[in-house]
Amino acid sequence: MLRIEGLNASYRGLKALQGVSLNVKKGQIVAVVGANGAGKTTLLKSVAGLVTTEGSIVFDGQDLRRLKAHMISRAGIGLVPEGRRLFPRLSVEDNLRLGAYAIAGPDRFKPLELVFSLFPRLQERLAQRAETLSGGEQQMLAIGRALMTQPRLLMLDEPSQGIMPKLVDDIFRAIQRIRDLGLTVLLVEQRLAEALEIADYAYVLQTGRVVMSGKAAEIAADSAVRRAYLGL
Amino acid sequence: MNRIAAAAAPLFMAVTLVAGQAQAADDIVIGVVYPLTGNAAPIGLDAKAAYETAADIINSTHAPIPVLMGNGGGLDRLGGAKIKLVFADSQNDPQKARAETERLITQEHAVAIVGSYTSATAVTISQVTERYEVPYMSADNSSPSLNQRGMKWFFRTSPHDEMFTQAMFQFFADEGAKTGHKVKSVALFYEDSIFGADSSNVQRKLAGENKMTIAADIKYRANSPSLSAEAQKLKAADADVILPSSYTSDAILILRAMNEIGYKPKAIMAQAAGFQESAFMTGAGALAEGAMSRSSFALDATASRPAIAPVNALYRARNDKDMNDNTSRDVTALFTLADAINRAGSAKPEDIRKALIATDIPGNLTVMPWAGVKFDETGQNVKGTPVIQQVTNGVYHTIWPFDVAVQPAVWDVK
């Protein structure tokens, strides 16, 4: 579904990605793991069209590098960005509904049901400003907003960051459910164990290069890998 | 270094190229400095048309017009030499006016300068002409202080604000004696630049001398977005006469502002300026009805000044409006200057100056209702006698002095 080949990207003058190749198959959760500064965030931003890159990024046969960021979103890729990037002064409801801004037709708000079933807490807080939510709720809202764009590929950048442990589980469960509903997920995480637990396939990124890839369960089981690349 | 030189070189080359343009040998160059861009540009552009009209009358061949230099064909005592006008934009900036005057004198070889509408530019122009020893003919600057700096090369055909204001108060006195209508209180209303300051100073002084109460003394910000508070002050004072010293935009605005708060002043006597502009007449429309203004010009004085009609026709053809207080003074200044150059029989500044000092032109050879043109030792024309006019049916009519008046004054116009 998403095929990345020989991707190079620089961020603030530093080479963040060097020759990264990666393949995401339909209906899978693919996890990208690695230490801080390994280039995980830049990878997602590259796909979303937020940083300039060299190489090839093809999504369902479409070359994403020719598209502007908002067209990539419309092409069916949703990104839940690092730091969530909600619209803090808009209400929860507005944040969600804006997710459907670029979508036409009578069913444009249909994913709301899904979002509410995944995160019932959001329904209770519809009128609240996004900035008043807790960290976990904000993450839910960010995922919800991305789902409202009706993506076929959902990319999540460290969804567990800065969230109470109890909610982390909720979120990972939600990600699984999203996959089970037929969406494809590209997940970037520092929390290795949880990520590898729900993922189907995994890539290990180190200083901008893919150093290893394989079935998530295999990587999770390989303690040598964990020590060498993930500092555990 | 070389990048600076590289960047600067073409510019300075351009300067010297333009500077090198030569003059035709015969032409007598007169430099004309006016604000041609910015807020005062409408006045400057009208002035430009007026000078061009006058120069055309002096230079071209046409049926004689009964005005000084009205025979055409150039300056006869200089072998029919033509007057060539070179205009410069002062942008109403004293520094710019100074530099442009210098340019006109040194590059364009102007033998005299005329100008300049605004007082601040007249100050620096007169400074330059004094230092370069070239006559400066002030055509329409009315600040009284301009000729009081002991200058040798400064001449002013136009009356100044003190003379104008004296005429206003003389008119009040004459009206009182004739019709019994007395002016007991006045309201001063003036903009905050040099024109308003000078004008109001004289008015304040003369009101005191004439034992009138100053019911209001309002200095306002020129080009204000609103003058409604000012109008309220005028309404509260409700003086017998309001004495505005305003440029066009403010003149329109204050009449509208007074109307907006339902105030119809008993009488308005304007220090010309904006009140004499055609844009004011269109802008204020019916609200201008009954407004009085001093003027150095009377378009309706055609009986005693036969040149008005033909000169005005030529001006109209060029600028699509009638001559007014300013443009008539501009025309007169150029006629006077050309006559002096002609009498001098020379284009040497010193000769022109001597001829100017000897000037004594009877009023009927001008387009002005003046007694004539004759300069005192400060360069001020002492024979420039102003008139008072009043708007009736959208046109200014002369109401004073009584011998040139075409109709009586109307008080308390409703």
Partner: protein
């Protein structure tokens, strides 16, 4: 790293010295008054832009109200000369000092603001100064102050028609502002300004006293702007609020620095060398038509330079140099 910086700085000093030498002899063969006037105004604005650059460029505080300090300098020196017969060279320094004091006084409240709030506040403060001067009859009010001619002398800084002395005064002024900027680029103060400009929080953590360092920039910038105002007043011979305290003038002080390159050593000079002659010549030869062409040209030029060379004309130099020497 460090030796290359000093080599660069030394080279800049040499370039400046050569330029100064050229400028000293340049006007001698040019007798045309208009061209000399053009040189004088250009040099004066080069110096003023450099003075603005100290606060606006190096310290990053975009002031759009610098005509206030210009006006203060002009008024102080003029009033001292007209009323107290104090020679302008003294009045100039006094004017600069009062202007610096004014800049500190303004800076004290205004430096709390940032970005556009700061820029607009500087306009407002300048406008208040303008309105007060217009209504303050003791300093001439709207009528302004006329500087009487007291005879040709360097002490009076008055010359009948000779432009050459003014040229050297303006050149001296520009040279001194350049030298100050050059010195600042190497001095501790200059470093702390750049730190403030780049990131206030980071600067603070590096131990830069942000407020104090801004105040120092304001004082220096105000001083030289005031001196420039005093020279201008003596050159023109007449001052009034409209011509020396206006918002338009404030923009004209900042513009050369912006066009030339903000916070660069040569930018303000380069900007003035391009902008001022263009403005003067276009208004002299196009303005007289009264059809607005000069304004259109001026406007287009500003837009074009801002968009095409956002880092300023000075960056063109870097391009040349890189091509010529193969090294940045």
């Amino acid at each position: 790293m460090v030796p290359s910086i000093t080599r660069r700085r030394r080279r800049e000093l040499v370039i400046a010295a050569v330029l100064l030498a050229v400028l000293i002899v340049l006007p001698l063969p040019i007798h045309d008054v208009y061209t000399r006037n053009l040189f004088i105004i250009t040099l004066l604005f080069a110096g003023l832009a450099q003075a603005w650059n100290i606060l606006g460029g190096y310290c990053g505080q975009i002031s759009l109200g610098h005509s206030l300090y210009f006006g203060i300098g002009a008024y102080v020196s003029t009033l001292m000369f007209v009323n107290g017969h104090i020679p302008p060279p003294v009045g100039m320094i006094a004017g600069g000092l009062v202007a610096a004091a004014g800049a500190l006084l303004v800076g004290w409240p205004v430096f709390r603001l940032s970005g556009h709030y700061y820029a607009i506040a500087t306009v407002v403060v300048q406008e208040i100064g303008y309105l007060l001067a217009l209504n303050w009859d003791l300093i001439g009010g709207a009528s302004g102050v006329f500087i009487p001619f007291r005879g040709e002398s360097w002490l009076n800084l008055q010359f009948r028609t000779d432009k050459l002395p003014y040229f050297y005064v303006a050149l001296g002024f520009a040279a001194v502002t350049w030298a100050v900027a050059w010195w600042l680029e190497g001095a501790r103060l200059g470093f702390s300004w750049r730190a403030v400009k780049d990131d206030v929080v980071a600067a603070r953590s590096l131990g830069v006293r942000v407020f104090r360092s801004k105040m120092a920039a304001a004082a220096l910038s105000g001083f030289f702007t005031g001196v420039g105002g005093a020279i201008f007043a003596q050159y023109v011979g007449y001052i009034d609020p409209d011509s020396i305290l206006s918002g338009q003038l404030a923009i004209l002080i900042a513009l050369p620095a912006v066009l030339g390159g903000v916070g660069t050593l040569w930018g303000p000079f380069l900007g003035a060398a391009v902008l001022i002659p263009l403005r003067e010549v276009s208004s002299s030869y196009l303005g007289a038509s009264g059809n607005g062409f000069d304004l259109m040209l001026y406007g287009i030029l500003i837009m074009a330079v801002a968009l095409l060379r956002p880092q300023g004309l000075a960056s063109l130099g870097a391009v040349f140099r890189r091509n010529a020497n193969g090294a940045p």
